[in-house]
């Protein structure tokens, strides 16, 4: 997908997450829209495009965040790397694989984010972060991921000519 389309789309996703979703809390879970979008795009289009989306999306989120620049970049790169693997292909229904990748990707995302925050001197209560923030957010990611994969699958098909060949 052309960067001319990807960048505005990712900026839109980041703004949505910053202006709206950051204030949404469902039993402690905050929807990580950029994570879901990067994961779904990686599943739909492969690891190369996923990594580029992760880098750009993470950079925009970092610019809008008060945290260290590069934290979300690293976390989303890890997610794209996870999403681009062939894990779970023998598990049967594609949905199972999506759920598995969302679970692993979500966990990796939060682990990397927390690790970077710890490295950069932020106070991190790992127990609280895992139980009260990461666990509910990952659960929400797993729930949202199948819908996001359908959405990005549709977008991918619309951009069939641009993307890599099957």
């Amino acid at each position: 997908m052309s960067l001319y389309l990807a960048v505005p789309l990712l900026v839109f996703v980041a703004l949505l997450q910053n202006a709206w979703l950051s204030q949404v809390s469902l039993w402690g879970a905050r929807p990580d829209l950029m994570l879901v979008v990067v994961l779904a795009w990686t599943i739909a289009r492969g690891i190369n495009e996923g990594l580029v989306w992760a880098f750009i999306g993470g950079l925009i989120i970092d610019l809008l965040s008060g945290g260290p620049l590069g934290a979300h970049v690293l976390a989303l790169l890890a997610v794209a790397f996870v999403g681009g693997q062939n894990w779970g292909e023998g598990l049967g229904a594609p949905l199972v694989r999506v759920l598995l990748l969302a679970l692993v990707g979500g966990l990796v995302y939060h682990i990397v984010l927390l690790t970077v925050l710890t490295w950069t001197g932020h106070v991190v209560d790992w127990g609280y972060a895992f139980l009260r923030v990461a666990a509910p957010s990952v659960t929400l990611t797993v729930v949202i991921a199948p819908f996001a994969v359908r959405g990005t699958g549709w977008l991918s098909r619309r951009l069939e000519g641009e993307g890599p060949r099957r």
Binding site: V11, Q17, L21, I43, I47, L64, G67, H122, V149
Partner: protein, 310 residues
């Protein structure tokens, strides 16, 4: 699976992007990316304002039940009235305590000159003529940090380190980063935030630090003082360190974890501000911080040093 694309994997791509991300992290922590991020902010800030406005108007569309809206307005009016009365009450108590202290001081150390503590004006929208007012335009997308983005920036004279308050002179946080037209505020409930504080009734001082769950804890309050902390006590900024004005309301004591064998008694503080409902804040741009060097030299706050982190 359907839709899955098989692309020739470029083995260098993940490594290259990870190295780039690490470089970003290192340079960002070293503080050398300021101009670059500033340039990005020129593009992103207006977009963020538009998005925030869009989200706000979309949210209004969903308020379909008129009665609920009217009740909310009424509740807000009543809350504002309660806030105003609470603030007045707090300030009167503060004056009373201050007068008592000054009387004691005058009695025993009349030869010394004391600088009058900085009073905090009651904040309202009208105060925007004096201080830069900022609409809250975003919350931090990082789930582990508690920052907000406000709609005023360096162009309006906002600088890093300036205190930010809400209505009722309640402390919201401190400016941590400025863009041209937006600024990031580190909330007092952020886990990295620490504010010098005192209890209004006992005058015991301590340090109010943010907790991961969004509450506040007051540390280093010496256990066993004659008048210790009690549930319901008001917690104010002490002004110690010179990075915050004295007398801003931080919150109210919710619980005292008293243990006889411990030197300090940790106090759980309920913040005075409902951070999820913040709409307008005020940046105390006129407050001049006292740098540590000045304080050690015994100098006055002649040279403002708002850049100093607290």
């Amino acid at each position: 699976m359907a839709g899955m694309r098989e692309t020739p994997v470029r083995p260098w791509l993940p490594l290259a992007l990870i190295v780039l991300a690490l470089l970003l992290l290192v340079f960002s922590e070293a503080g050398t990316l300021g101009p670059v991020t500033g340039a990005f902010h020129y593009v992103l800030d207006p977009l963020l304002r538009v998005a925030s406005g869009g989200v706000e108007s979309t949210g209004n569309l969903f308020q379909m039940v008129r009665d609920v809206r009217e009740l909310r307005v009424r509740a807000d009016e009543l809350q504002a009235e309660v806030d105003a009365l609470t603030v007045e009450n707090v300030r009167l108590r503060e004056y009373e305590a201050e007068v008592q202290q000054l009387r004691d001081l005058l009695r025993f150390v009349g030869d010394y000159q004391f600088v009058a503590p900085l009073g905090a004006d009651v904040v309202s929208r009208q105060a925007c003529d004096t201080f830069p007012c900022g609409d809250v335009v975003g919350a931090d997308p990082n789930p582990y940090l508690r920052y907000i983005t406000i709609g005023v920036g360096s162009q309006q004279g906002v600088r890093v380190g300036m205190p930010v308050v809400s209505s009722g002179a309640a402390l919201v946080g401190r400016i941590s980063e400025t863009g041209p037209r937006t600024a990031k505020v580190q909330l007092i409930v952020d886990a990295n935030s620490a504010t010098a504080a005192l209890l209004q009734t006992s005058r015991a001082t301590g340090l109010v630090v943010g907790q991961p769950d969004g509450t506040l804890r007051m540390d280093y309050v010496v256990h066993g003082r004659e008048a210790g902390a009690a549930v319901g006590d008001i917690v104010l900024t002490s002004g110690l360190g010179g990075v915050m004005p004295k007398g801003l309301v931080i919150g109210q004591v919710a619980r005292v974890d008293r243990a006889d064998y411990e030197m300090f008694e940790p106090i759980i503080v309920r913040p005075a501000v409902d951070f999820s409902r913040l709409e307008v804040v005020l940046v105390l741009a006129g407050f001049e911080q006292i740098s540590l060097e000045e304080a050690e030299d015994g100098g006055g706050p002649d040279e403002p040093s708002a850049e100093q982190p607290g």
